[in-house]
Symmetry: C2
Amino acid sequence: MNACNIGEDALIRRLAKLVPGRADVVAGIGDDCAVVRTGRRDSFDWLLKSDPVIEGVHFTPTAPAEAIGHKALGRVLSDIAAMGGEPMWVLIDLVAPASVPVKRIEGMYRGLAKLARRHGVAIVGGDTARGKTLELHIFAVGRIPRGRAVLRSGGKPGDSLYVTGSLGGSGQGRHLRFEPRLVEGQWLAAGKWATAMMDVSDGLATDLRRLIAASGTGAVIEAARVPVSPAAKRLLDRRAPLVHALSDGEDFELLFAVPRRKKTAFEAAWSRQFRLACTRIGELTEKSGRLELETRGIRRVLNVRGYEHFT
Amino acid sequence: MNACNIGEDALIRRLAKLVPGRADVVAGIGDDCAVVRTGRRDSFDWLLKSDPVIEGVHFTPTAPAEAIGHKALGRVLSDIAAMGGEPMWVLIDLVAPASVPVKRIEGMYRGLAKLARRHGVAIVGGDTARGKTLELHIFAVGRIPRGRAVLRSGGKPGDSLYVTGSLGGSGQGRHLRFEPRLVEGQWLAAGKWATAMMDVSDGLATDLRRLIAASGTGAVIEAARVPVSPAAKRLLDRRAPLVHALSDGEDFELLFAVPRRKKTAFEAAWSRQFRLACTRIGELTEKSGRLELETRGIRRVLNVRGYEHFT
Protein backbone atom coordinates (compact mmCIF):
# COMPACT_ATOMS: atom_id res chain seq x y z
CA MET A 1 0.00 0.00 0.00
CA ASN A 2 1.40 3.43 -0.92
CA ALA A 3 0.18 6.99 -0.47
CA CYS A 4 -1.45 6.71 -3.91
CA ASN A 5 -4.09 4.14 -3.07
CA ILE A 6 -5.02 5.02 0.49
CA GLY A 7 -7.48 7.90 0.98
CA GLU A 8 -6.40 11.02 2.89
CA ASP A 9 -8.92 10.37 5.68
CA ALA A 10 -7.77 6.74 5.99
CA LEU A 11 -4.11 7.81 6.10
CA ILE A 12 -4.82 10.38 8.82
CA ARG A 13 -6.75 7.77 10.88
CA ARG A 14 -3.75 5.41 10.68
CA LEU A 15 -1.25 8.11 11.62
CA ALA A 16 -3.45 9.44 14.45
CA LYS A 17 -3.19 6.04 16.17
CA LEU A 18 0.60 6.35 16.38
CA VAL A 19 0.98 9.72 18.09
CA PRO A 20 0.69 10.77 21.74
CA GLY A 21 -1.90 13.16 23.24
CA ARG A 22 -2.07 15.16 26.48
CA ALA A 23 -4.77 15.80 29.06
CA ASP A 24 -4.96 19.47 28.04
CA VAL A 25 -6.06 18.66 24.44
CA VAL A 26 -9.82 19.38 24.17
CA ALA A 27 -10.02 18.36 20.49
CA GLY A 28 -7.16 16.84 18.51
CA ILE A 29 -6.73 15.31 15.07
CA GLY A 30 -9.96 15.26 13.04
CA ASP A 31 -11.51 18.70 13.51
CA ASP A 32 -10.89 21.97 11.61
CA CYS A 33 -8.44 23.03 14.32
CA ALA A 34 -6.98 21.42 17.43
CA VAL A 35 -8.30 22.93 20.67
CA VAL A 36 -6.00 23.08 23.71
CA ARG A 37 -6.59 24.44 27.21
CA THR A 38 -3.69 26.02 29.03
CA GLY A 39 -4.78 26.56 32.61
CA ARG A 40 -7.66 26.08 35.01
CA ARG A 41 -8.35 29.80 35.37
CA ASP A 42 -7.72 30.89 31.77
CA SER A 43 -10.61 32.57 30.01
CA PHE A 44 -9.61 31.35 26.54
CA ASP A 45 -9.00 28.05 24.79
CA TRP A 46 -6.36 28.01 22.03
CA LEU A 47 -6.88 26.88 18.45
CA LEU A 48 -3.97 25.41 16.46
CA LYS A 49 -4.01 24.82 12.71
CA SER A 50 -1.57 24.13 9.87
CA ASP A 51 -2.22 23.91 6.15
CA PRO A 52 -0.07 24.00 3.00
CA VAL A 53 -0.53 25.46 -0.47
CA ILE A 54 1.59 23.72 -3.10
CA GLU A 55 2.21 24.72 -6.71
CA GLY A 56 0.50 22.27 -9.03
CA VAL A 57 -1.95 21.21 -6.30
CA HIS A 58 -3.44 24.40 -4.82
CA PHE A 59 -2.34 26.94 -7.45
CA THR A 60 -0.88 26.97 -10.96
CA PRO A 61 2.50 28.46 -11.97
CA THR A 62 0.61 31.38 -13.57
CA ALA A 63 -1.38 32.34 -10.45
CA PRO A 64 -0.68 35.92 -9.30
CA ALA A 65 1.77 35.98 -6.39
CA GLU A 66 -0.45 38.04 -4.07
CA ALA A 67 -3.39 35.68 -4.67
CA ILE A 68 -1.23 32.68 -3.64
CA GLY A 69 -0.35 34.42 -0.37
CA HIS A 70 -3.99 35.36 0.18
CA LYS A 71 -5.12 31.78 -0.38
CA ALA A 72 -2.42 30.29 1.85
CA LEU A 73 -3.43 32.36 4.88
CA GLY A 74 -7.13 32.40 3.97
CA ARG A 75 -7.37 28.61 4.13
CA VAL A 76 -6.09 28.56 7.70
CA LEU A 77 -8.20 31.52 8.80
CA SER A 78 -11.22 29.72 7.34
CA ASP A 79 -10.51 26.78 9.65
CA ILE A 80 -10.26 29.09 12.66
CA ALA A 81 -13.55 30.69 11.55
CA ALA A 82 -15.11 27.22 11.45
CA MET A 83 -14.44 26.80 15.20
CA GLY A 84 -15.80 30.30 15.93
CA GLY A 85 -12.32 31.57 16.79
CA GLU A 86 -10.22 34.71 16.49
CA PRO A 87 -6.83 34.32 14.73
CA MET A 88 -3.80 35.75 16.55
CA TRP A 89 -0.34 34.66 15.37
CA VAL A 90 0.99 33.01 12.23
CA LEU A 91 4.23 31.29 11.18
CA ILE A 92 5.15 30.62 7.54
CA ASP A 93 7.36 27.85 6.15
CA LEU A 94 8.40 28.82 2.61
CA VAL A 95 9.80 26.18 0.25
CA ALA A 96 11.09 27.58 -3.05
CA PRO A 97 13.13 26.38 -6.01
CA ALA A 98 16.27 28.50 -6.45
CA SER A 99 14.90 29.86 -9.74
CA VAL A 100 11.90 31.64 -8.17
CA PRO A 101 12.34 35.44 -8.39
CA VAL A 102 12.53 37.18 -5.01
CA LYS A 103 9.88 39.58 -6.36
CA ARG A 104 7.43 36.66 -6.65
CA ILE A 105 8.15 35.57 -3.08
CA GLU A 106 7.69 39.14 -1.86
CA GLY A 107 4.40 39.31 -3.78
CA MET A 108 3.14 36.21 -1.98
CA TYR A 109 4.06 37.70 1.40
CA ARG A 110 2.37 40.98 0.41
CA GLY A 111 -0.91 39.16 -0.33
CA LEU A 112 -0.60 37.28 2.91
CA ALA A 113 0.21 40.43 4.90
CA LYS A 114 -2.79 42.30 3.47
CA LEU A 115 -5.22 39.64 4.65
CA ALA A 116 -3.40 39.35 8.00
CA ARG A 117 -3.70 43.10 8.62
CA ARG A 118 -7.41 43.06 7.82
CA HIS A 119 -7.97 40.51 10.60
CA GLY A 120 -5.41 41.81 13.11
CA VAL A 121 -3.14 38.79 12.71
CA ALA A 122 0.63 39.03 13.40
CA ILE A 123 3.17 37.09 11.34
CA VAL A 124 5.80 36.16 13.89
CA GLY A 125 8.20 33.73 12.25
CA GLY A 126 8.75 30.67 10.14
CA ASP A 127 11.47 29.21 7.98
CA THR A 128 12.71 29.33 4.39
CA ALA A 129 14.18 26.33 2.58
CA ARG A 130 15.08 25.37 -0.93
CA GLY A 131 13.00 22.64 -2.56
CA LYS A 132 11.75 21.43 -5.93
CA THR A 133 8.27 22.95 -5.65
CA LEU A 134 7.00 26.34 -4.52
CA GLU A 135 5.07 25.86 -1.27
CA LEU A 136 3.77 27.87 1.66
CA HIS A 137 2.94 26.10 4.91
CA ILE A 138 0.93 28.28 7.25
CA PHE A 139 0.68 27.65 11.00
CA ALA A 140 -1.81 29.69 12.97
CA VAL A 141 -2.78 30.12 16.60
CA GLY A 142 -6.22 31.48 17.41
CA ARG A 143 -8.28 31.81 20.54
CA ILE A 144 -11.88 31.39 21.59
CA PRO A 145 -13.63 31.97 24.93
CA ARG A 146 -13.16 28.83 27.03
CA GLY A 147 -15.46 25.97 26.12
CA ARG A 148 -17.08 27.79 23.19
CA ALA A 149 -15.23 26.18 20.24
CA VAL A 150 -17.78 24.70 17.82
CA LEU A 151 -16.64 21.17 16.96
CA ARG A 152 -17.80 18.94 14.13
CA SER A 153 -19.14 16.46 16.64
CA GLY A 154 -21.98 18.41 18.28
CA GLY A 155 -24.74 17.86 15.68
CA LYS A 156 -28.02 16.13 16.68
CA PRO A 157 -30.68 14.45 14.50
CA GLY A 158 -33.23 17.07 13.51
CA ASP A 159 -30.77 19.98 13.48
CA SER A 160 -31.16 22.20 10.40
CA LEU A 161 -28.13 22.39 8.11
CA TYR A 162 -26.91 25.69 6.69
CA VAL A 163 -24.16 26.94 4.38
CA THR A 164 -22.98 30.50 3.91
CA GLY A 165 -22.51 32.02 0.43
CA SER A 166 -22.74 29.74 -2.60
CA LEU A 167 -20.91 26.59 -3.69
CA GLY A 168 -19.14 25.19 -6.74
CA GLY A 169 -16.93 26.46 -9.55
CA SER A 170 -14.34 27.88 -7.14
CA GLY A 171 -11.59 26.86 -9.59
CA GLN A 172 -12.79 29.68 -11.89
CA GLY A 173 -11.05 32.17 -9.62
CA ARG A 174 -12.80 32.32 -6.27
CA HIS A 175 -10.35 29.83 -4.69
CA LEU A 176 -7.71 32.59 -4.93
CA ARG A 177 -9.93 35.45 -3.71
CA PHE A 178 -12.32 34.07 -1.08
CA GLU A 179 -12.88 35.83 2.21
CA PRO A 180 -12.57 33.62 5.33
CA ARG A 181 -15.86 33.82 7.27
CA LEU A 182 -14.30 34.92 10.55
CA VAL A 183 -16.91 37.45 11.64
CA GLU A 184 -19.71 35.04 10.85
CA GLY A 185 -18.02 32.10 12.60
CA GLN A 186 -17.38 34.16 15.74
CA TRP A 187 -20.99 35.35 15.76
CA LEU A 188 -22.30 31.79 15.39
CA ALA A 189 -20.16 30.59 18.31
CA ALA A 190 -20.81 33.59 20.57
CA GLY A 191 -24.59 33.31 20.12
CA LYS A 192 -24.45 29.54 20.67
CA TRP A 193 -26.39 29.06 17.42
CA ALA A 194 -24.27 26.29 15.88
CA THR A 195 -24.13 22.79 17.42
CA ALA A 196 -21.56 21.59 14.84
CA MET A 197 -19.55 23.52 12.27
CA MET A 198 -16.78 23.13 9.69
CA ASP A 199 -15.63 24.91 6.56
CA VAL A 200 -16.34 23.53 3.08
CA SER A 201 -12.87 22.95 1.67
CA ASP A 202 -13.09 19.56 -0.08
CA GLY A 203 -16.67 19.84 -1.43
CA LEU A 204 -20.01 19.80 0.40
CA ALA A 205 -20.54 16.04 -0.07
CA THR A 206 -17.13 15.02 1.34
CA ASP A 207 -17.15 17.57 4.14
CA LEU A 208 -20.72 16.86 5.25
CA ARG A 209 -19.79 13.15 5.41
CA ARG A 210 -17.04 14.15 7.84
CA LEU A 211 -19.44 16.22 9.95
CA ILE A 212 -22.01 13.43 10.24
CA ALA A 213 -19.27 10.89 11.00
CA ALA A 214 -18.07 13.10 13.87
CA SER A 215 -21.63 13.79 15.11
CA GLY A 216 -22.81 10.18 14.77
CA THR A 217 -25.81 11.25 12.66
CA GLY A 218 -26.94 11.05 9.05
CA ALA A 219 -27.93 13.97 6.84
CA VAL A 220 -30.25 14.80 3.99
CA ILE A 221 -29.53 17.60 1.50
CA GLU A 222 -32.50 19.06 -0.41
CA ALA A 223 -31.19 19.37 -3.98
CA ALA A 224 -33.32 22.39 -4.85
CA ARG A 225 -32.02 24.32 -1.84
CA VAL A 226 -28.27 24.02 -2.50
CA PRO A 227 -26.97 27.53 -3.33
CA VAL A 228 -25.15 26.90 -6.62
CA SER A 229 -22.62 29.63 -7.40
CA PRO A 230 -22.86 31.69 -10.61
CA ALA A 231 -19.41 30.32 -11.55
CA ALA A 232 -20.68 26.72 -11.31
CA LYS A 233 -23.72 27.59 -13.44
CA ARG A 234 -21.49 29.08 -16.13
CA LEU A 235 -19.32 25.96 -16.41
CA LEU A 236 -20.20 24.22 -19.68
CA ASP A 237 -18.78 20.78 -18.97
CA ARG A 238 -20.51 17.43 -18.67
CA ARG A 239 -21.31 17.80 -15.00
CA ALA A 240 -24.47 19.56 -13.82
CA PRO A 241 -24.03 22.77 -11.78
CA LEU A 242 -25.45 20.95 -8.73
CA VAL A 243 -22.72 18.30 -9.00
CA HIS A 244 -20.11 21.07 -9.03
CA ALA A 245 -21.72 22.61 -5.94
CA LEU A 246 -21.63 19.23 -4.17
CA SER A 247 -18.11 18.23 -5.14
CA ASP A 248 -15.78 20.98 -6.40
CA GLY A 249 -14.29 22.04 -3.07
CA GLU A 250 -12.31 25.14 -2.06
CA ASP A 251 -15.52 27.08 -1.38
CA PHE A 252 -14.31 28.06 2.11
CA GLU A 253 -17.87 28.70 3.21
CA LEU A 254 -19.20 27.65 6.62
CA LEU A 255 -21.32 24.50 6.95
CA PHE A 256 -23.14 24.24 10.28
CA ALA A 257 -26.08 22.77 12.17
CA VAL A 258 -28.65 24.72 14.23
CA PRO A 259 -31.23 23.05 16.54
CA ARG A 260 -34.62 22.88 14.81
CA ARG A 261 -36.37 24.84 17.60
CA LYS A 262 -34.01 27.79 16.98
CA LYS A 263 -34.55 27.79 13.21
CA THR A 264 -36.87 30.79 12.92
CA ALA A 265 -35.02 32.90 15.49
CA PHE A 266 -31.69 32.02 13.88
CA GLU A 267 -32.74 32.93 10.36
CA ALA A 268 -34.15 36.26 11.54
CA ALA A 269 -31.03 37.06 13.59
CA TRP A 270 -28.72 36.19 10.68
CA SER A 271 -30.66 38.46 8.29
CA ARG A 272 -30.43 41.35 10.74
CA GLN A 273 -26.69 40.80 11.19
CA PHE A 274 -25.31 39.94 7.74
CA ARG A 275 -25.86 40.65 4.07
CA LEU A 276 -24.04 37.41 3.20
CA ALA A 277 -26.45 34.65 2.12
CA CYS A 278 -27.04 31.82 4.57
CA THR A 279 -29.10 28.96 3.14
CA ARG A 280 -30.83 26.07 4.89
CA ILE A 281 -29.89 23.07 2.72
CA GLY A 282 -31.32 20.16 4.70
CA GLU A 283 -31.06 18.56 8.12
CA LEU A 284 -29.29 15.97 10.21
CA THR A 285 -31.02 12.59 10.48
CA GLU A 286 -30.85 9.54 12.73
CA LYS A 287 -29.44 7.29 9.98
CA SER A 288 -25.86 7.26 11.27
CA GLY A 289 -23.29 7.82 8.53
CA ARG A 290 -25.90 7.96 5.74
CA LEU A 291 -25.80 11.00 3.43
CA GLU A 292 -28.90 11.42 1.26
CA LEU A 293 -29.94 13.81 -1.49
CA GLU A 294 -33.64 14.65 -1.76
CA THR A 295 -34.85 15.51 -5.28
CA ARG A 296 -38.58 16.19 -5.86
CA GLY A 297 -39.50 14.42 -2.63
CA ILE A 298 -37.42 11.30 -3.32
CA ARG A 299 -34.39 10.55 -1.13
CA ARG A 300 -31.41 8.68 -2.54
CA VAL A 301 -28.02 7.88 -1.04
CA LEU A 302 -25.54 10.45 -2.33
CA ASN A 303 -22.46 9.00 -3.98
CA VAL A 304 -20.84 12.15 -5.36
CA ARG A 305 -17.50 12.70 -3.69
CA GLY A 306 -15.50 15.87 -3.35
CA TYR A 307 -11.79 16.35 -3.62
CA GLU A 308 -9.58 14.10 -1.56
CA HIS A 309 -5.78 14.01 -1.56
CA PHE A 310 -4.09 10.65 -2.24
CA THR A 311 -7.00 9.20 -4.26
CA MET B 1 17.35 38.57 -8.28
CA ASN B 2 16.02 35.08 -7.59
CA ALA B 3 15.98 32.81 -4.55
CA CYS B 4 19.30 31.36 -5.79
CA ASN B 5 21.48 34.43 -5.34
CA ILE B 6 20.04 36.03 -2.23
CA GLY B 7 21.12 34.59 1.12
CA GLU B 8 18.54 33.06 3.48
CA ASP B 9 19.12 35.74 6.12
CA ALA B 10 18.80 38.53 3.52
CA LEU B 11 15.60 37.00 2.17
CA ILE B 12 14.10 36.74 5.66
CA ARG B 13 15.02 40.38 6.39
CA ARG B 14 13.23 41.50 3.21
CA LEU B 15 10.14 39.42 3.96
CA ALA B 16 10.04 40.51 7.61
CA LYS B 17 9.56 44.12 6.47
CA LEU B 18 6.36 43.22 4.65
CA VAL B 19 4.40 41.52 7.40
CA PRO B 20 2.35 42.89 10.31
CA GLY B 21 3.08 42.46 14.03
CA ARG B 22 0.98 42.85 17.17
CA ALA B 23 1.56 44.44 20.56
CA ASP B 24 1.52 41.01 22.25
CA VAL B 25 4.58 39.76 20.33
CA VAL B 26 7.59 39.83 22.71
CA ALA B 27 10.03 38.49 20.07
CA GLY B 28 9.16 37.93 16.42
CA ILE B 29 11.07 37.00 13.28
CA GLY B 30 14.80 36.51 13.89
CA ASP B 31 15.05 34.44 17.06
CA ASP B 32 14.94 30.65 17.54
CA CYS B 33 11.24 30.90 18.37
CA ALA B 34 8.66 33.68 18.41
CA VAL B 35 7.59 34.68 21.92
CA VAL B 36 4.02 35.87 22.50
CA ARG B 37 2.23 36.99 25.65
CA THR B 38 -1.44 36.24 26.03
CA GLY B 39 -2.69 38.13 29.04
CA ARG B 40 -1.61 40.53 31.75
CA ARG B 41 -2.02 37.99 34.56
CA ASP B 42 -0.76 34.90 32.75
CA SER B 43 2.21 33.17 34.33
CA PHE B 44 3.61 31.85 31.04
CA ASP B 45 4.78 33.28 27.72
CA TRP B 46 4.21 31.12 24.63
CA LEU B 47 6.89 30.00 22.17
CA LEU B 48 5.98 29.36 18.53
CA LYS B 49 8.24 27.63 16.02
CA SER B 50 8.00 25.96 12.61
CA ASP B 51 10.66 24.10 10.66
CA PRO B 52 10.68 21.71 7.69
CA VAL B 53 12.70 18.62 6.80
CA ILE B 54 12.85 17.97 3.06
CA GLU B 55 14.16 14.92 1.21
CA GLY B 56 17.35 15.84 -0.62
CA VAL B 57 18.01 18.79 1.71
CA HIS B 58 17.70 17.48 5.28
CA PHE B 59 17.75 13.73 4.64
CA THR B 60 18.52 11.32 1.82
CA PRO B 61 16.08 8.87 0.21
CA THR B 62 17.87 6.05 2.05
CA ALA B 63 17.53 7.56 5.55
CA PRO B 64 15.59 5.29 7.94
CA ALA B 65 11.97 6.46 8.29
CA GLU B 66 12.03 6.67 12.09
CA ALA B 67 15.19 8.78 11.99
CA ILE B 68 13.52 11.27 9.62
CA GLY B 69 10.62 11.69 12.04
CA HIS B 70 13.03 12.03 14.97
CA LYS B 71 14.99 14.71 13.16
CA ALA B 72 11.90 16.63 12.06
CA LEU B 73 10.57 17.00 15.60
CA GLY B 74 14.04 17.20 17.17
CA ARG B 75 14.93 20.32 15.16
CA VAL B 76 11.91 22.19 16.48
CA LEU B 77 12.38 20.97 20.05
CA SER B 78 15.99 22.15 19.82
CA ASP B 79 14.74 25.67 19.04
CA ILE B 80 12.37 25.58 22.01
CA ALA B 81 15.29 24.36 24.15
CA ALA B 82 17.32 27.34 22.91
CA MET B 83 14.78 29.74 24.48
CA GLY B 84 14.72 27.73 27.72
CA GLY B 85 11.18 26.52 27.03
CA GLU B 86 9.02 23.44 27.55
CA PRO B 87 7.37 22.00 24.40
CA MET B 88 3.63 21.31 24.62
CA TRP B 89 1.74 20.74 21.33
CA VAL B 90 2.78 19.91 17.78
CA LEU B 91 1.13 19.96 14.34
CA ILE B 92 2.59 18.14 11.32
CA ASP B 93 2.17 19.02 7.63
CA LEU B 94 3.12 15.97 5.58
CA VAL B 95 3.87 16.33 1.86
CA ALA B 96 4.40 13.02 0.06
CA PRO B 97 4.65 11.78 -3.52
CA ALA B 98 1.93 9.23 -4.28
CA SER B 99 4.58 6.51 -4.61
CA VAL B 100 5.75 6.67 -0.97
CA PRO B 101 4.72 3.49 0.88
CA VAL B 102 2.31 4.08 3.76
CA LYS B 103 4.69 1.96 5.88
CA ARG B 104 7.43 4.58 5.37
CA ILE B 105 5.10 7.40 6.39
CA GLU B 106 4.02 5.41 9.46
CA GLY B 107 7.70 4.84 10.29
CA MET B 108 8.35 8.58 10.21
CA TYR B 109 5.42 9.23 12.54
CA ARG B 110 6.62 6.43 14.83
CA GLY B 111 10.04 8.11 15.18
CA LEU B 112 8.39 11.42 15.78
CA ALA B 113 5.96 9.97 18.34
CA LYS B 114 8.77 8.29 20.28
CA LEU B 115 10.62 11.58 20.77
CA ALA B 116 7.34 13.40 21.53
CA ARG B 117 6.46 10.89 24.28
CA ARG B 118 9.89 11.23 25.87
CA HIS B 119 9.31 14.98 26.29
CA GLY B 120 5.58 14.91 27.09
CA VAL B 121 4.62 16.55 23.80
CA ALA B 122 1.15 15.98 22.23
CA ILE B 123 0.68 15.74 18.46
CA VAL B 124 -2.67 17.43 17.92
CA GLY B 125 -3.15 17.84 14.18
CA GLY B 126 -1.77 18.88 10.83
CA ASP B 127 -2.44 18.19 7.19
CA THR B 128 -1.45 15.71 4.50
CA ALA B 129 -0.98 16.68 0.84
CA ARG B 130 0.46 15.15 -2.27
CA GLY B 131 3.62 16.76 -3.67
CA LYS B 132 6.77 15.95 -5.62
CA THR B 133 9.07 15.67 -2.62
CA LEU B 134 8.76 13.96 0.76
CA GLU B 135 8.59 16.67 3.44
CA LEU B 136 7.57 17.10 7.06
CA HIS B 137 6.78 20.58 8.35
CA ILE B 138 6.61 20.68 12.13
CA PHE B 139 4.88 23.43 14.07
CA ALA B 140 5.33 23.50 17.82
CA VAL B 141 3.96 25.51 20.70
CA GLY B 142 5.96 25.67 23.91
CA ARG B 143 5.81 27.68 27.09
CA ILE B 144 8.18 29.38 29.47
CA PRO B 145 7.59 31.27 32.73
CA ARG B 146 6.69 34.84 31.82
CA GLY B 147 9.65 37.05 30.90
CA ARG B 148 12.19 34.20 31.19
CA ALA B 149 12.70 33.36 27.48
CA VAL B 150 16.42 33.62 26.63
CA LEU B 151 16.72 35.63 23.38
CA ARG B 152 19.71 35.95 21.08
CA SER B 153 19.88 39.64 21.83
CA GLY B 154 20.84 39.70 25.51
CA GLY B 155 24.60 39.15 25.20
CA LYS B 156 27.05 41.76 26.62
CA PRO B 157 30.74 42.35 25.83
CA GLY B 158 32.83 40.27 28.24
CA ASP B 159 30.25 37.45 28.58
CA SER B 160 31.82 34.00 28.30
CA LEU B 161 30.64 31.85 25.40
CA TYR B 162 29.76 28.19 25.85
CA VAL B 163 28.61 25.28 23.71
CA THR B 164 27.17 21.97 24.87
CA GLY B 165 28.43 18.65 23.49
CA SER B 166 30.77 18.69 20.50
CA LEU B 167 30.58 20.11 16.99
CA GLY B 168 31.15 19.02 13.38
CA GLY B 169 30.67 15.92 11.27
CA SER B 170 26.96 15.69 12.08
CA GLY B 171 26.32 14.47 8.53
CA GLN B 172 27.99 11.17 9.51
CA GLY B 173 24.81 10.20 11.34
CA ARG B 174 24.31 12.42 14.34
CA HIS B 175 22.00 14.78 12.41
CA LEU B 176 19.43 11.94 12.44
CA ARG B 177 19.96 10.90 16.07
CA PHE B 178 20.67 14.04 18.12
CA GLU B 179 18.91 14.71 21.40
CA PRO B 180 17.37 18.19 21.73
CA ARG B 181 18.89 19.90 24.80
CA LEU B 182 15.56 20.63 26.49
CA VAL B 183 16.53 19.85 30.08
CA GLU B 184 19.73 21.86 29.75
CA GLY B 185 18.00 24.84 28.11
CA GLN B 186 15.29 24.94 30.78
CA TRP B 187 17.93 24.78 33.52
CA LEU B 188 19.94 27.61 31.93
CA ALA B 189 16.82 29.81 31.72
CA ALA B 190 15.45 28.94 35.17
CA GLY B 191 18.80 29.68 36.85
CA LYS B 192 19.17 32.93 34.88
CA TRP B 193 22.64 31.78 33.78
CA ALA B 194 22.38 32.60 30.07
CA THR B 195 22.12 36.20 28.81
CA ALA B 196 21.77 35.07 25.18
CA MET B 197 21.19 31.63 23.69
CA MET B 198 20.49 29.84 20.41
CA ASP B 199 20.96 26.38 18.99
CA VAL B 200 23.75 25.54 16.55
CA SER B 201 21.88 24.43 13.44
CA ASP B 202 23.76 26.09 10.55
CA GLY B 203 27.30 25.83 11.93
CA LEU B 204 28.97 27.63 14.83
CA ALA B 205 30.43 30.40 12.64
CA THR B 206 27.15 31.32 10.96
CA ASP B 207 25.06 30.98 14.09
CA LEU B 208 27.45 32.93 16.32
CA ARG B 209 27.37 35.73 13.71
CA ARG B 210 23.61 35.81 14.17
CA LEU B 211 23.91 35.91 17.96
CA ILE B 212 26.40 38.81 17.91
CA ALA B 213 24.31 40.67 15.32
CA ALA B 214 21.28 40.39 17.62
CA SER B 215 23.28 41.33 20.74
CA GLY B 216 25.18 44.19 19.07
CA THR B 217 28.54 42.74 20.15
CA GLY B 218 31.50 41.01 18.56
CA ALA B 219 32.92 37.64 19.56
CA VAL B 220 36.20 35.77 19.69
CA ILE B 221 36.45 31.98 19.49
CA GLU B 222 39.59 30.34 20.91
CA ALA B 223 40.49 27.72 18.28
CA ALA B 224 42.06 25.31 20.77
CA ARG B 225 38.94 25.32 22.94
CA VAL B 226 36.37 24.35 20.28
CA PRO B 227 35.05 20.86 21.14
CA VAL B 228 35.55 19.03 17.84
CA SER B 229 33.39 15.91 17.58
CA PRO B 230 34.93 12.45 17.06
CA ALA B 231 32.99 12.26 13.77
CA ALA B 232 34.64 15.46 12.50
CA LYS B 233 38.08 14.13 13.48
CA ARG B 234 37.48 10.92 11.55
CA LEU B 235 36.55 12.74 8.32
CA LEU B 236 39.41 12.33 5.88
CA ASP B 237 38.63 15.15 3.47
CA ARG B 238 40.56 18.31 2.63
CA ARG B 239 39.05 20.36 5.43
CA ALA B 240 40.54 20.36 8.92
CA PRO B 241 38.41 18.96 11.76
CA LEU B 242 38.21 22.48 13.24
CA VAL B 243 36.71 23.81 10.00
CA HIS B 244 34.07 21.08 10.16
CA ALA B 245 33.32 22.05 13.76
CA LEU B 246 32.93 25.71 12.76
CA SER B 247 30.88 25.19 9.63
CA ASP B 248 29.15 21.83 9.22
CA GLY B 249 25.87 22.64 10.96
CA GLU B 250 23.08 20.40 12.27
CA ASP B 251 24.86 19.97 15.59
CA PHE B 252 21.73 21.00 17.54
CA GLU B 253 23.84 21.89 20.53
CA LEU B 254 23.22 25.01 22.65
CA LEU B 255 25.39 28.10 22.16
CA PHE B 256 25.03 30.65 24.97
CA ALA B 257 26.64 33.53 26.83
CA VAL B 258 27.15 33.76 30.63
CA PRO B 259 28.26 36.96 32.43
CA ARG B 260 31.99 36.78 33.25
CA ARG B 261 31.39 37.28 37.00
CA LYS B 262 29.24 34.11 37.06
CA LYS B 263 31.79 31.99 35.16
CA THR B 264 33.18 29.98 38.07
CA ALA B 265 29.83 29.47 39.77
CA PHE B 266 28.25 28.50 36.45
CA GLU B 267 30.88 25.93 35.54
CA ALA B 268 30.65 24.32 38.97
CA ALA B 269 26.84 24.27 38.88
CA TRP B 270 26.80 22.74 35.39
CA SER B 271 29.20 19.97 36.41
CA ARG B 272 27.04 19.10 39.42
CA GLN B 273 23.90 19.02 37.25
CA PHE B 274 24.93 17.37 33.98
CA ARG B 275 27.28 14.75 32.57
CA LEU B 276 26.98 16.40 29.13
CA ALA B 277 30.09 18.42 28.23
CA CYS B 278 29.79 22.20 28.31
CA THR B 279 32.84 24.01 26.93
CA ARG B 280 33.86 27.65 27.21
CA ILE B 281 34.94 28.50 23.64
CA GLY B 282 35.57 32.25 23.87
CA GLU B 283 33.78 35.47 24.77
CA LEU B 284 31.72 38.34 23.47
CA THR B 285 33.66 41.51 22.59
CA GLU B 286 32.91 45.17 22.00
CA LYS B 287 33.77 45.00 18.29
CA SER B 288 30.19 45.04 17.01
CA GLY B 289 29.53 42.46 14.31
CA ARG B 290 33.15 41.24 14.23
CA LEU B 291 33.74 37.49 14.62
CA GLU B 292 37.35 36.52 15.34
CA LEU B 293 39.24 33.25 15.74
CA GLU B 294 42.19 33.21 18.15
CA THR B 295 44.96 30.71 17.29
CA ARG B 296 48.12 30.60 19.43
CA GLY B 297 47.40 34.08 20.79
CA ILE B 298 46.78 35.67 17.37
CA ARG B 299 43.28 36.92 16.52
CA ARG B 300 42.08 36.95 12.93
CA VAL B 301 38.67 37.75 11.44
CA LEU B 302 36.87 34.46 10.82
CA ASN B 303 35.63 33.99 7.27
CA VAL B 304 34.45 30.39 7.42
CA ARG B 305 30.72 30.23 6.84
CA GLY B 306 28.27 27.55 7.81
CA TYR B 307 25.37 26.20 5.86
CA GLU B 308 22.90 28.73 4.49
CA HIS B 309 19.88 28.00 2.32
CA PHE B 310 19.61 29.84 -1.00
CA THR B 311 23.37 30.40 -1.40
